[in-house]
Each structure stands twice: as C-alpha cells, then as structure tokens.
C-alpha cells in the first residue's frame, strides 16, 4: 500500500531512535544507541545494601548500568539511585580544577594542583609545628572506599601528626558501632541478608527499608515462611503499611517500651536459659532492672494500646526465629546506644542470635560506613583496634612500618566535639572529604559559625557546588564513585569491589591519589611508600586483619572478591578453601561463585555462642531511660522527626539531584507531615503553606495532613538544607551520634501560595 506508506510513516528517524538490539553479555535487549563493547561488575556507591551492578562499557567508559542478576545481595534488582549511578557523573558542576577562594570577595579562582598541594602542606605543617596536634581535624565520609579511608586516617595521624578526625558516619552508624562493640566485644553485625528470608518474625525499629533500602525489602518479600512483620515507628511509613502490625509509638518512647517488652518476656519464662548462662553476662542485673518497668507507664509514654504491647511481647515467644532490624530511628537518638542494646538484649536473652533468621541487626546507612568502622583510624585504631591499647599500637607500628611514637594513644574527638573545639578557636583548620556538613549538621547554623572561626577550610568533593564547598577556602576536585577503584563493606559484612569505569572530568583525581600527593607534598612519601594503589593498600589492610575478628587474610586480591560476588568477613586464610580458577579473565560462570568462596557464600556470626569479649560472653547492658533534652511545651508543642524523603534521594542530593529522572521522583516541595487531628485543631488545610518554628529558626513548608503519623509528631524529609535549622543538637553519650529525631517545634499558618 504505497499510499498508506506515504500518508502514515511507520518508520523513520524518530522511530529508529528507540530501536532496541540484543545487548549480548546476558543483558537482553537494550537501546541500540548504547550497546556496550563489554561489561564489568561493580558495587553501587550509595547505600550500605551494597548492590552488584553490571556496568555497560562503551569505548569511552560506562554508558549505562543494570543490576547484576548474579550478585548475591540484590539478585538482579536495584533502586532508582543504582539505575542512575552513572548519569550523575556527568553533571556540569563537577569540579575539574582546584579552586582557591578569596576571603575578602568570596570569589573562587582556579589554581594549579601544585599550588593547592603546597598550600595545604604549608598550612598543616605550620599548624602542627606552632599550634600542635589538636589544631586541625578532618571530617570524612562513609562514601569512599575503605582503602581511601585507611590512607586518609593513617596519613593524618601517623604522617601529618594530628589527633582529631571524624566522619559523617558519626551521624549515621556510630551508635550501632558502639552498641555492638560494648555488647559483643567487637563491632560485629552478626547477620547475613539471608536472614531476611529465614525469619519467622521480623521486627523493624525506626527503619523504613521500603524507601531507604528497597533491595533489602526485596529480600523480605522473598521470605517463604509467611513471616510476621512488626514495625515500630511514629510514622506509618511504607514499611509500616506493608507490615503485619504497625506499632505507632510516640517519638523516643522506644527504650522504655523495649525494656517493658523484655520484662514481660522474662516474666513469661521465654528466655533461653542455657544460652544466657553459657554466652552472656549481666542477666541478673538486667532482670532486676527491667522488673521496675510497668506496662501502664510504658503504654502511657508510648501512647500505645495493650494489644500493641502484647503483639510485641508475643513476637519473642519461643519456637520462632526472631530478627530485630534497626536504622536511624534508633541510631539518631539521645540514648541511642542503650536502645540498640535493648534490642541486642532481647535477642540475646531469647537466644535469637547465631541461628538462621535471627539477630539484633543494624542495617547500615552509607555504602562504606562498615569500612569506616574498621579502617578509618578515627575513633578506633586501624583494623578494629583501640588507640589506648599499647599492644594494638605495637601491632600497627610493626605491620605498617610506622614509628610507634607516631601512633596516638587516645582516640579523636567526636564530630560535635571537633566543631565545638573549632568554635572555641582551638581547631583552626578542617579538611572535609566527600561530605556536606554545612547542610547536614544538626541544629541551627553551627557549621556556618564554625566556618567563620576557621583559618582554613579545605573541601574535597566531586562537585564544587555543595553548600560546604561553596564556603571552603580551598576546593579540591575529586573523582567520584565509578571513576576510581577500591573496596567497600556492606551491612552484612560483605566486601565488594568498586571499579574505575569512567574517566574523571578535567583534573579531578581519585581521593586515593589526592592523599598520595598530599603525603608527598608533606614529606611523608617514605611512610606511605607501600600505598602505591588501592589494591596495594588493601594488602596492608589484609595484613592488619590477621587474627582480628574480621580477619580477611584469605582474600587474595580484587579479582577474587569480584569473581566471588563479594566476600563476607571474616575470611581467614585456610588450606581447605577451593582456590579460584586462574583463568577468571575468561569468565567464571556465576554458578561457580559458590565454589570460589567455598561453602560460605552467606555467613552469620556467633553460631558457636562465643563473642569477642575477653570472657567470650556477650554483655547485657542497660541504663534508665531519660527524657529527650528538648521536650514539647506550651509554645513549641509538637515533636519534629526527620528522615528519608524518597528512594530517589540520597543525603544532601549533591549526586541524586543531578539526575533529571531522579529529580522527577523526588517531592516537588518540602512537605511537612502532621496528624490530621493536629492540623484540624490548628485550622490548617492540607496542601497549604505552613510556618514551622523551633527555638533555632523557622522555615516554610507545604502541609500534608495525614493519619499516618503519631498525633503530636510532625515529619520533615532531611534532604532540604533548611530542615537542620530546626533540629535540636543533642547527642548520645556513648556514640556522640546526633539525635535528628526529636526537636520541639510549632506549626502555624504560612503565607498563601
């Protein structure tokens, strides 16, 4: 039909722009414009789930990614951020040259790397010599590979001779770290993701994996045991809705509630006596302590029904596999460590540990917070050691070949203490790496005040446009995830390899290379001569792990980790492991991965009931609950809690906001969630603009009146810079983690739209 063809174009350039072709490499059909010449696997660089991604390589590097169908973590799935992992590398605000800011005019001018490095070296040398080891600090991140954290931490302390350093993991995982360390004798999350699929009862506390860790929820959905899912959260989150029971407790009533649950469990004789006897200490004291917690007081404080409490208690009835999972709702609290330990205690006394589908399990936040906990050399000496332990210092000195005297005998100040010290004028310089405290730090404009006080602020980041980079004296352009290589450790202790699949823009360098150059410019070349590459640094990390609970001496190199689909620690050197085939270059069929790592594809800890404490027993730790420091009153009558906005957003959005499609999945405006009854009482209409005030400042948001949040509480997503004007700076005394989940605010009618 020629006429038909003339009148109707069934084909042409527009049609062909969408043609799909077989992508080879097991990819199925993909757009013809981006058919790869090869593929390679890598591990995602956003959250601690640690998903395997298949990178589609064009001639000039990665052109696309798809989730790796054989990776044992994500089983072929990814959340929106993972799908868009490569897109955000192309943003126009990527740093390409070092920038020096004129403090008088605020103008930033490009300078050569040599000048930037010389400036840094001079500043830090001068400070170290004149002002001493406590006059500068770095604030690092959970967003870079372990090798880079390891290099930075050892360079800073052993090489440059400074004492203080911390990272944004303080805002995220410090609580879990301290809780595990105190209870188990080592920072050792006991679980494997398989436990999601093997539990009969899953208790999520202050966690919203549907949004924050979608791929972990995938694992819950695969659970064939028809599990009971209980969610403790002041908000009826996506996860709470998907649960079999939502316990909508009042903000920060969790510790009292958990102690009360434990008292009920003990009273009903549901403890695992032989396990408690053999593997724990402190049961007698704990029993006495919780016996004073009455149901009535707990129900009044938490504003729950007796049925809610009963469901929680029944969850721990013997005969079922119970796992408890927590994230920021627990970690970011004024009594966070004891709350995490209340969950640890519940699992310990009911014997829910070391067996399939059990465990007090911290779902980590950042992609490499776990690496930071072991190797960042900030609050702990490298390799899960203690600065105060002379034997530990001696080990590190010997293995790394650094003078014993260069290793400090005390830990760094914590994040908040570093900022306080800067406000007092003691810390005069800060080096900020891949984090954005100007946005994220809690309460008012603390970081801005710090900035005013500092003599020297260096920011090293992928983007020159972050709020913190904009106020830096010196900005260093860093390569991002995908433009460098290294390993990272996910929530289930799985070490994965992240590869260089893109060229960084302009003169941006990997953080590892920047640290090498800073070492060289500072005259520390000799001390770090073994740090020739991330993989060489991994070799040192491996040596440092020998005999430690996280022993990874059985890992030969990056290729082995990659071929195995990641390797969980511990992985000590043993003769009986099947060695990896030598010809992996030609491809290891994915079904051979199990053979590569032996029969230990998924492992959980403590199956033998032995912990890492000196006596091998877990400690049952507790403290009386305390009210939050800022309680609602007549003027500020509501409790503000904060959290993740959507699955398409990450932290301060420096990366995720660079993807148009991720932006389209983010809320269009800042939305305040408030209970419908609270909105009605204030005459506030859903959808209208409201003024949210705290003692520290105010902001305008759009109101969403909803029954899905506890009355008396309001919620704001954390991705808007203004939100931390409102939050209240209080800290857990053990972990020094800030409490982003409890501030007193008031809400009023705002200006019309």
């Amino acid at each position: 039909m020629p006429l038909e063809n003339l009148l109707r174009s069934f084909d042409g350039p527009d049609t062909r722009s969408l043609v799909r072709s077989p992508g080879k490499f097991g990819l199925g059909q993909i757009p013809s414009a981006v058919v790869p010449v090869s593929t390679t696997t890598t591990v995602c660089g956003y959250c601690s789930t640690g998903c395997g991604l298949n990178v589609h390589m064009g001639d000039a590097g990665a052109v696309n990614v798809t989730p790796d169908p054989t990776y044992p973590v994500n089983l072929g799935m990814a959340c929106p951020k993972g799908w868009e992992a490569v897109t955000v590398l192309d943003a126009p605000d990527r740093g390409t040259v070092p920038l020096l800011r004129d403090r008088a005019t605020g103008e930033r001018k490009p300078i050569p790397w040599q000048q930037a490095l010389a400036l840094m070296a001079d500043k830090f040398r001068h400070l170290r010599e004149v002002e001493g080891p406590e006059s500068a600090a770095f604030l690092s991140t959970g967003q870079i590979p372990t090798e880079e954290m390891f290099f930075l931490g050892t360079l800073w302390k052993f090489g440059l001779g400074f004492l203080h350093a911390d990272s944004n993991t303080r805002q995220c995982m410090a609580t879990a770290h301290v809780a595990y360390k105190q209870s188990f004798g080592y920072d050792a999350p006991p679980f494997s993701y398989d436990d999601f699929e093997e539990s009969d009862v899953l208790v999520f506390v202050g966690a919203n994996p549907c949004i924050a860790h979608p791929i972990l929820w995938e694992r819950v959905m695969r659970n064939p045991r028809k599990p009971e899912i209980i969610v403790l959260d002041p908000r009826r989150t996506e996860t709470a809705q998907a649960a079999t029971h939502h316990v909508r407790l009042a903000p920060k009533s969790d510790l009292t509630l958990l102690y009360t649950v434990l008292r009920n469990v003990i009273e009903r004789g549901w403890t695992d006596r032989s396990f408690v006897e053999k593997s724990t200490t402190g049961m007698q004291d704990l029993s006495t302590f919780v016996s004073t917690f009455s149901d009535e007081e707990a129900l009044e404080l938490s504003r729950l029904s007796r049925e809610d409490l009963e469901i929680l208690v029944q969850a721990f009835k013997p005969g079922r596999r119970v796992s408890c999972w927590w994230t920021m709702g627990v970690n970011q609290s004024h009594e966070a460590v004891r709350t995490a330990q209340a969950l640890i205690n519940l699992c310990l006394v009911t014997g829910n540990i070391g067996k399939p589908g059990t465990g007090p399990n911290s779902i980590t936040g950042q992609m490499n917070a776990m690496g930071s906990r072991l190797y960042s050399n900030t609050s702990g000496l490298v390799g899960g050691r203690d600065f105060a332990n002379a034997q530990h210092r001696e080990e590190v000195s010997r293995i790394m070949g650094v003078p014993l005297a260069s290793i400090p005998d005390r830990a760094s100040l914590a994040y908040d203490q570093i900022l306080d010290s800067a406000l007092e004028g003691k810390i005069k310089a800060l080096w900020v790496i891949a984090t954005n405290p100007e946005h994220t730090w809690i309460g008012s404009d603390t970081f801005r005040q710090v900035r005013e006080k500092l003599d020297f602020l260096v920011v090293q980041d992928m983007y020159h446009s972050t709020e913190t980079a904009m106020v830096a004296d010196l900005y260093l352009p860093a390569a991002g995830w995908g433009e460098k290589e290294g390993t990272q450790i996910n929530s289930e202790r799985r070490i994965g390899v992240s590869k260089r699949v893109r060229r960084p823009p302009g003169q941006a360098l990997s953080d590892f290379d920047i640290f090498r150059l800073v070492a060289q410019a500072s005259g520390c070349t000799a001390m770090f001569e073994r740090f020739t590459s991330p993989e060489a640094a991994f070799g040192i990390m491996r040596e440092l792990s020998a005999g430690r609970p996280h022993d990874i001496t059985g890992i030969r190199d990056y290729r082995q980790i990659d071929a195995a689909g990641g390797i969980q620690w511990p992985y000590p050197l043993r003769d009986d492991r099947i060695s990896m085939p030598e010809n992996v270059r030609d491809g290891v069929p994915s079904d051979l991965r199990d053979q590569v790592v032996g029969d230990e594809g998924h492992r959980r800890l403590f199956a033998d009931g032995k912990f890492f404490t000196p006596d091998g027993k877990a400690k049952l730790l507790f403290d009386p609950p305390r009210p939050p420091e800022e309680m609602p009153d007549a003027v500020f009558d509501l409790v503000l809690t904060t959290g993740r906005g959507s699955s398409a957003q990450w932290h301060t959005g420096t990366r995720t906001a660079k993807s148009a499609v991720l932006r389209s999945l983010s809320p269009k405006s800042l939305v305040l969630e408030m209970h419908s009854s609270d909105a009605a009482a204030r005459g506030l209409e859903s959808g209208s603009q409201v003024l949210v005030k705290s003692r520290r400042g105010s902001l305008i948001a759009q109101l969403l009146a909803t029954p899905n949040i506890a009355p008396g509480a309001v919620f704001l997503p954390m991705h808007d810079r203004r939100v931390n004007i409102l939050t209240f700076p209080s800290f857990d005394p053990h972990s020094r983690e800030p409490s982003y989940k409890h501030a007193a605010v008031s809400v009023h009618k705002g200006p019309p739209l």
């Binding site: 722009s17 799909r20 199925g28 054989t70 868009e84 290379d513 990056y558 071929a563 030609d586």
Partner: protein
C-alpha cells in the same frame, strides 16, 4: 544516559616538571586509564540470552493472546513497596531522554494506608489517544492489543495528551513529539519482559493476557482505582490487584499547580473566533440591508490567517501539519483543521469588495461559504475540547464560551470600523460581553458540592492564577465601558479602544481556560 566521560585534554597534563609534578602527571594518567577493568572477568561473554530471564519468567503470560484477547499489565498494589525502580528502568532500558519515562508513580492517600500506584499506558481497548490523534499516529496492534505510537507520524500537537484520560502519552519537548509505552513489544516478541517488569524488586508488575470482550461488556472490570475517570470511554486494560479501600484521594488531587497556558492555542482560538464573528455579523448586516463594510472581511481574513499561522507554533513538528486531516473520521482536531482550512479561500474571496472582481452572486456565495465554514470551524474547536475527558471542558459552556467570544469580538471590531448600525453592533457586544463574563465568573465561585474538577478550577483561579483572573476582569470592564460609551455616542473611536482591551481580555481568558483546567490522569505525587 550519556556516552563516555568528560575526558581530559592534553593541556591538562602538560604543565608539570619536578617530582611532585611527575606524581601528579602519573595520577592524572592513571585516572584516565580505563584498562584496569580488563583484569576482571567478563561475565556472560558469549551469552545473548538475557541473564535476568529466570527472575521474570513467572511474570510473563504462558501464551500469546488469542482472538479477542490482548496483552496488558497487571499490578499487585500490595506487593509494591514504593521504590519507583520501574520508572527509572523504563527510562534507562529504553534509552529515553533526561527525565523522560513512560511509567510514572503516584500515591493515593487514605485513612488507613497510602497506596503507591505505578502506571504507564493501559493499552486500552478503545484508546482515547487514537481517537483524538489527527494524524493517525496511533496503531492498536490487532494481535497483541498493544497501542503503539508512530513517532515519525506525529506532528506534535499533543492532543492525545488531552484525550487520554491517564496521561500516558508523554511530551518530549526536545524532539517536538509525543512518545509512549509500547509495552516493550520488541522485548515481548523475543520472550523478554518489559523494562518495568524486569526491574521490580517486589515482582509487583507482570504481563497478562486479558479478554477484550469482557472489558467491552463492563469497562469497570479493567482499571479500577479511585479518582480514575474515563474507563467507560477507553476501556483500559491494566489490572490493579490489591487492597484499595474506597475514600482514597490522589496525593496531587488538591495540588495548586496551574497547567500549561498554551499561548499559541489561545491566540489561535481567539483570533479564529473573532474572524468568524466579524464574518457572521458583517453578513447579517448586509442581509439587513445596511451598507457593506469593505474592511470587515479583509480583517476577518487577516485574523483567520494570523490565528492559524500563530497557532501552528504550538506544533512540535509543523512541517507535518499537512497530515492533520487524516483523522477526520474520529478526530475533532482533524475536523477543525479541515473546516478552518476550507474557510480560508472563501474568506479571501469574500474579502474582495462585492462586485469588484467577481460577479456579485459569487461574492454572496463566497461570503455564505466563508461564514458556514468558519462557524463549522468554531464548532469543531468547541467539540475538540468537549470531546476530551476533562470535566471542565467537556460541557456545553465551552461551546457558549467560544460562540460568545466570536460574536462579541466581531461586534466590537465592526463598531470600531464605524459601520452603519453601530448602535446595534454595540448592543450586541454589550449583551455578549455580559453573557460571557457570567460564564467566566461562574467558574470562580462554585459550591463545595460541585464536581471536584470545578472546585479545583475555582481554587486555581482564586489562588495561583488570581492575578491573571483579575487582570482579565479589569481588561474586560474597560472594554465594556468603552463599548457602552461607543454605543451611546455612536462613536467608533470608543470601539477602537474596546477592541484593544477586549482582545487582551479574551487572550488572558483563553490562557486561563487552559491553565485552570484540571487534567485527568493517574494519581500523582506531592
């Protein structure tokens, strides 16, 4: 999706000399070297079979559709965890632009629970997009039932975006055409799952085979979700499973975000309607026996051509506008184009003073034909909007609004030309002005019990569009005052002023007609 890294230039690497310089040079070289990945395994080196196949096998239909059947999506709302991976996978695996994705997600807010709704094209049994399309750029596949958009046929008029009740066709501004979900038909043919199905971590989306006859008999057997309109028109096939309580409201239901103003369309409508009004009133005057005004029809011709010309700025691909007549069997857009296009030669002929070049009878016939086709064109314009599923447009008031614009505009223009019977055309302009402003004002104040679309329109007009709505009112009042003065004093200069203000007022009114009309679509987000 981009190709390749930003890369570095040679200049970046040529500025160093000493030991540090050498290290720096090495570091820059190292980071530009992508060969490091080659030491790792190349998985599935020789495999053309999709490695994901095992993950989605059970989400695919056992067999292809038989006679009277078609493919459709099935969404299990209870399994959806709101992660939105489907949206990004559609974007990524189909190679779409920037934020383009054919799948969207939204939220239904409820007392007990919120429900995330993922949706793309529903591959309707009677697709609204195809009914509206003037260029026949839609094809419903006879075997699979997939509603396919012919991208090379599209002229970018975006009318399908109004006639689809679900916002499935997506505008690609950089290409100037609409594109939409084709259920990844090439993947289906090869036994692969659509992008969204492959990517859902919760296995909440699958492809199923449905019976078209069952939907024809009872459209509500298909896509049933609160707030969805148009199922009875188009018979959407997506099956939503799960616990969807009544009383759920789309999260964006009360969103106060104005729609696009479509200025070229506003200009097209107002100018063509004024043209029709001038022609009609001038013909009426001549029939009454008043002297012929030789400027009336030329002005009508200028306005008609200007309207059609400026209106075509709305098209993403104006060079393909010649195809616009193809859909005349079902598209009011095609009919409008045909009627207006046919009117052009007759209006031009009627613009020649009667008896100057042609015999008087031919002028008479031209005038009659011009008025007939212009009136038909205005009628088709009205039907174009009335035929959409948009509640605010889909009522007789739209036809009244257009007709009153035509007569009112024509009357002030003739007044400004100082025609014989100026007082009569003045009274016509006053009366039509009052009638139209009542229509306009009625939209601003509606009872809370009215259809939500009218309530929403009133909120928009009283909210973010308030200033424009007030401007429209003031412009109209000035024009009205001038028309009254012109009528009292039988003085054309007042009408000249009335023309300027009335035209401005009408253009603002027509922009508001677009901006304040709540669209029909699947639930959106805040």
């Amino acid at each position: 999706m981009q190709t390749g890294g930003v890369g570095r230039t040679k200049a970046d690497m040529s500025v160093f000399g000493s030991a540090l310089d050498e290290s720096l040079r090495q570091a820059l070289e190292r980071s530009a070297d992508l060969s490091a990945v080659e030491r790792f395994s190349q998985w599935h080196a020789d495999s053309t079979a999709p490695a994901h196949a095992g993950l989605y096998r059970e989400l695919m239909p056992a067999s292809a559709p038989g006679p009277g059947q078609q493919y459709s999506f099935e969404v299990d709302l209870d399994r959806c965890s709101s992660c939105k991976a489907c949206v990004v996978a559609c974007h990524s695996l189909n190679g779409l632009d920037d934020s383009e994705s054919w799948r969207t997600t939204g939220t239904l807010l409820g007392e007990k629970a919120n429900v995330t709704v993922t949706s793309s094209c529903h591959h309707c049994v009677e697709p609204g997009c195809a009914t509206g399309c003037p260029t026949l750029a839609y094809e419903k596949d006879a075997l699979t039932g997939i509603v396919k958009h012919l991208d090379d046929q599209c002229m970018g008029c975006q009318y399908c975006m109004w006639t689809c009740p679900y916002d499935a066709p997506k505008w690609n501004a950089s290409m100037g055409i609409v594109r939409k979900c084709d259920l990844c038909q090439d993947r289906l043919k090869a036994g692969e799952a659509p992008a969204c199905v492959q990517s859902c971590p919760s296995q909440a989306i699958r492809v199923v085979v449905v019976d078209q006859a069952a939907l024809l008999a009872d459209p509500t057997k298909g896509t049933v979700l609160p707030g969805i309109v148009g199922a009875e028109r188009t018979m959407p096939t997506t099956v939503y499973k799960g616990d969807v309580a009544s009383g759920l409201v789309a999260a964006d239901a009360s969103s106060l975000e104005p729609e696009h103003a479509h200025t070229p369309l506003a200009v097209l409508l107002v100018l063509t309607q004024w043209s029709a009004g001038i022609a009609f009133l001038e013909m009426a005057r001549r029939w009454i026996g008043w002297t012929e005004n030789v400027v009336g029809f030329p002005l009508a011709a200028v306005l008609l051509l200007a309207g059609l010309g400026l209106g075509s700025a709305h098209l993403g691909r104006p060079l393909k506008a010649w195809k616009a007549f193809l859909g005349w069997r079902r598209s009011w857009f095609s009919r409008e184009v045909i009627a207006m296009g046919t009117a052009v030669p007759f209006v031009l002929a009627a613009a020649v003073p009667s008896g100057l070049f042609f015999p008087k009878s031919l002028s008479e016939i031209s005038m009659l034909a011009a008025v007939f086709f212009l009136t038909l064109g205005v009628g088709c314009s009205a039907m174009l909007y009335i035929a959409t599923p948009r509640v605010v447009w889909s009522r007789p008031a739209t036809a009244w609004r257009f007709a009153l614009t035509a007569i009112g505009g024509g009357a002030v223009v003739l007044g400004a030309l100082g025609v014989e019977g100026i007082r009569v055309v003045g009274v016509v302009s006053i009366l039509t002005g009052i009638a139209k402003s009542l229509l306009v004002l009625r939209d601003k104040k509606v009872p809370g019990t009215a259809h939500p679309a009218f309530v929403q329109q009133a909120r928009l007009l009283g909210g973010p569009l308030k200033r424009q709505a007030l401007a429209q009112l003031y412009l109209f009042l000035i024009a009205f005052g001038m028309a009254v003065l012109g009528t009292i004093f039988a003085a054309w200069p007042f009408f000249v002023a009335a023309v300027l203000f009335r035209l401005s007022s009408d253009l603002v009114e027509r922009r508001l007609f677009f901006q304040a009309c709540p669209p029909t679509r699947m639930p959106g987000s805040l």
